[in-house]
């Protein structure tokens, strides 16, 4: 009997149960495999997008590191700096003849993120180093000052940049240093956080690429410090001017110019227009004789090799 029962086969119920279980298992497996295949496909797409984004980040980093002021004496390297829009002058990395009025072969570059998750790069080569950045009101700008979209040289773009998706403002593309900066001219570093997502709203989330760029060409203003002390000699009261405590934060050599009878302009980022004491180009200067109880006014303007100036003045009371 045992043998007969062992040979009796499966009942219909058993078979149905087994089929149902098998279908569930197989269905689950197929579903999971489908998800895996889809994820793999998205992974490949994301890898490609990430590679493109990395190329863009590398290029942006290189151009920011090479950012330079269009002309000496103009502090600040960025022409525009917002969370999703940045413009600056940099050096054209493509070898070639520089325009006559633009011997450093600088170009204006703009990176901006539009409402369609596209990061645009626009550029143009000015004919003069004293030019100003072209229109940046729209992203991308349609100004003819930028190389137009019809040109093959125009508008490298990167898709699927989701920093600002759905109006999200919590993921700025660009953040700037130092903390507390109040004007674009004060910016000396840029933090780049670029989120790339081929399938927004679905797992896995966006991939983030980061880079921090110190603007090494940023020009910093020197600081003019002066003391003016009266000393007496055989002829009367003399005034010794000492500007040796003046300094440049980047260690650049300073040139000195002393002024008599005038105060510094406001803001003190330029020298007085008159009153220069001829030949007074060193830290120490003997300003000559002054009558008793007079109150001569002296100013010192120091200028670094980058062309930035700072002025300070002091009034002296002659005993």
């Amino acid at each position: 009997m045992m043998y007969a029962r062992d040979q009796r086969g499966f009942t219909l119920i058993e078979l149905l149960v087994a089929m149902v279980i098998s279908m569930i298992v197989m269905g689950s497996a197929v579903a999971i495999l489908t998800v895996i295949l889809n994820d793999n496909r998205y992974d490949n797409l994301r890898d490609g997008a990430q590679a493109d984004a990395q190329t863009m980040v590398d290029r942006l980093s290189r151009e920011l590191r090479s950012a330079s002021a269009p002309s000496a004496g103009s502090g600040g390297l960025l022409a525009k700096a917002t969370s999703y829009d940045i413009s600056f002058a940099t050096v054209n990395a493509t070898p070639g003849s520089a325009p006559t009025g633009n011997p450093a072969n600088q170009i204006w570059v703009r990176y901006c993120l539009d409402g369609n998750d596209i990061l645009w790069r626009q550029s143009t080569t000015p004919s003069s180093t004293t030019s100003t950045v072209p229109d940046t009101s729209a992203c991308p700008s349609t100004s003819s000052a930028w190389v137009t979209a019809a040109s093959s040289a125009c508008c490298v773009e990167l898709n699927d940049v989701t920093n600002e998706i759905g109006g999200d403002t919590t993921r700025p593309l660009f953040t700037f240093g130092p903390s507390g900066w109040s004007s674009v001219s004060q910016i000396n570093s840029v933090q780049l956080n670029l989120y790339v997502d081929k399938n927004p709203g679905h797992r896995p989330g966006p991939r983030e690429l980061m880079s921090g760029i110190y603007l090494r060409n940023e020009l910093a203003s020197p600081t003019a410090n002066l003391t003016a002390l009266p000393t007496t000699n055989q002829q009367g009261a003399d005034v010794q001017l000492n500007g040796s405590l003046s300094f440049d934060p980047n260690g650049q050599v300073l040139s000195y110019q002393w002024y008599e009878g005038v105060s510094c302009p406001t803001p003190p980022s330029s020298a007085p227009s008159s009153g220069a004491i001829p030949g007074a180009t060193t830290q120490l200067y003997d300003a000559g004789e002054f009558p008793a109880r007079s109150q001569p006014l002296f100013a010192l303007a120091v200028t670094n090799t980058g062309g930035l100036t700072n002025c300070n003045s002091q009034q002296v009371t002659i005993p």
């Binding site: 045992m2 029962r5 062992d6 087994a18 279980i21 098998s22 298992v25 197989m26 689950s28 497996a29 999971i32 495999l33 895996i36 994820d39 793999n40 992974d43 890898d47 990430q50 590679a51 990395q54 590398d58 980093s61 290189r62 590191r65 090479s66 330079s68 002021a69 000496a72 050096v91 990395a93 070898p95 520089a98 011997p103 450093a104 072969n105 690429l209 090494r216 060409n217 020009l219 000699n233 055989q234 002829q235 040796s244 980047n250 260690g251 650049q252 050599v253 000195y256 030949g279 180009t281 060193t282 830290q283 120490l284 003997d286 670094n304 090799t305 980058g306 062309g307």
Partner: protein, 456 residues
């Protein structure tokens, strides 16, 4: 028992299914992880290569700040026909002049690695293989105003690759190119470096010494404290253990060895208190020395002073070390009538550190003579004999003196304002003090730092 044995087949099937699914998930996760790790690794290697290149660049700029590479300061190895500046520096160049020390960059030294074929290497390297490490290049930036001063071009007919490896144009600027390779990732940086020339705060005294003497008792103008532009100078005398001055002319200070009040015209004012000695401290003196080295007008202590000629005294900054034998008959002697730094040349600064100098003919020196007197000499360090003239000023440190001589060039109550007729053996010239300067290192020129594309 029978029922369980019949169900073993389905368990195996389910286990296989689950295993396949798990493998699939695992493989996908692994692929994603590998891709992410590779991307992160590439990014990290690129950043490290940049850091290595930047460190090498800064180290090379530091080396240039210690010694500026000019034609006047080129080490010439024995048998080398050209200048001895290295065309490039790397970790193997440790100890070579003008190269960064390997220890300065040792923390960045990556291990050996074979990079895949096609890996971008240093575009200036002649080697076909790519090797991890750093390399720096110094290249002449061209003459002032040329396009190569504004724009670095890597290769080609106008490229910097073939330029000379020192400041051959004497423009005070060179390009420094630095390459960093880490894990087969490369970064190429370049900056223009400029020498930093600083003005010296040199006191404007026509005569600054411990004492001075005049060997004539007439009314000739021996010392003229007013220059042709109307600028006047005080005389500074320290009078320590005074050696000159007969107490009669003038009585204040007694170390002014005048024999007639009119020998100084116009009537002089004496600095009170006198200027401190030494006039230049060790740092300032070193800055002057480095500038002279840069200009090729440095004369080391090994050169006998008696062999130095008037032609060697000409230059904007001349620095003579001298030695213990450089006094008296062993000192510098300038006979005849050379015109040293005569217009249109700018007045010069002549520094004689250890020794004496004597003009015995009718020479005219335009500029400032400064004697730090490190040999603590108490006699005449500078002697203006014959009908020689210094138009500028003389400054002597320590207890040494100045012998102004006796000729006065024959001028009495001299009113000449054009120097066509000399008004004394020692004449003040304020302009001679305005251009005195020293070398204060080197620094990256503002606005000239670049990160180049990897193939440049």
């Amino acid at each position: 028992m029978t029922k369980l044995r019949n169900e073993q087949g389905s368990a195996l099937m389910m286990a296989l299914m689950i295993t396949i699914v798990a493998l699939g998930i695992g493989t996908a996760l692994l692929a994603t992880s590998v891709a992410q790790q590779r991307a992160a690794g590439n990014q990290q290697s690129s950043e490290t290569a940049y850091s290595l290149a930047e460190a090498a660049l800064n180290a090379q700029v530091f080396e240039l700040s210690q010694q500026w590479p000019t034609s006047g300061d080129a080490p010439r190895p024995s048998g080398s026909p050209g200048y001895g500046y290295p065309m490039s520096c790397n970790a193997a160049s440790n100890g070579t002049s003008y190269c960064p020390a390997a220890n300065d960059l040792s923390s960045y030294t990556p291990g050996s690695q074979t990079c895949p074929a096609g890996t971008q290497g240093d575009a200036w390297s002649s080697s076909s293989s790519v090797t991890n490490g750093w390399t720096t290049y110094v290249r002449d930036a061209g003459v002032t105003g040329s396009s190569s001063q504004s724009l670095f071009t890597s290769t080609g007919t106008t490229g910097e690759e073939g330029a000379l490896a020192y400041d051959a144009s004497a423009s005070g600027s060179v390009w420094v190119r630095a390459v960093g390779i880490v894990n087969c990732h490369i970064a190429v940086l370049v900056t223009k470096v400029s020498d930093q020339i600083v003005s010296l705060n040199f006191p404007k005294f026509v005569l600054d010494a411990n004492s001075f003497s005049v060997s004539d008792n007439g009314q000739k103008d021996i010392v003229n404290v007013q220059d042709t532009n109307g600028n006047t100078s005080q005389i500074s005398l320290r009078c320590t253990g005074s050696t000159y001055g007969n107490g009669a002319q003038p009585p204040n200070p007694t170390c002014a060895g005048l024999q007639n009040p009119s020998q100084v015209q116009p009537a002089p004012s004496y600095a009170s208190p006198p200027a401190a000695s030494p006039t230049l401290n060790a740092t300032q003196l070193l800055a002057v020395k480095k500038l002279a080295i840069q200009k090729g007008t440095y004369i080391p202590a090994s050169v006998a002073c008696s062999s130095i000629t008037a032609a060697q005294l000409q230059g904007s900054t001349v620095y003579i070390e001298g030695n213990a034998s450089c006094y008296g008959n062993g000192g510098i002697s300038i006979p005849s009538n050379p015109q040293i730094n005569a217009p249109p040349l700018a007045p010069g600064l002549l520094v004689l550190v250890n020794g004496t100098i004597s003009f015995t003919g009718s020479a005219t020196f335009y500029g400032v003579i400064y004697a730090p007197n490190t040999g603590a000499y108490t006699g005449d360090v500078v002697t203006l004999g014959g009908t020689s003239t210094v138009i500028g000023g003389v400054n002597v440190d320590g207890n040494a003196a100045l012998n102004v001589g006796s000729s006065g060039n024959g001028a009495v109550n001299c009113t000449d304002t054009s120097d066509s007729q000399k008004c004394g053996d020692l004449e003040y010239n304020a302009a001679a003090f305005s251009g005195l300067s020293g070398f204060d290192g080197a620094a990256s020129a503002p606005n000239m730092f670049r990160q180049l594309p990897n193939n440049q």
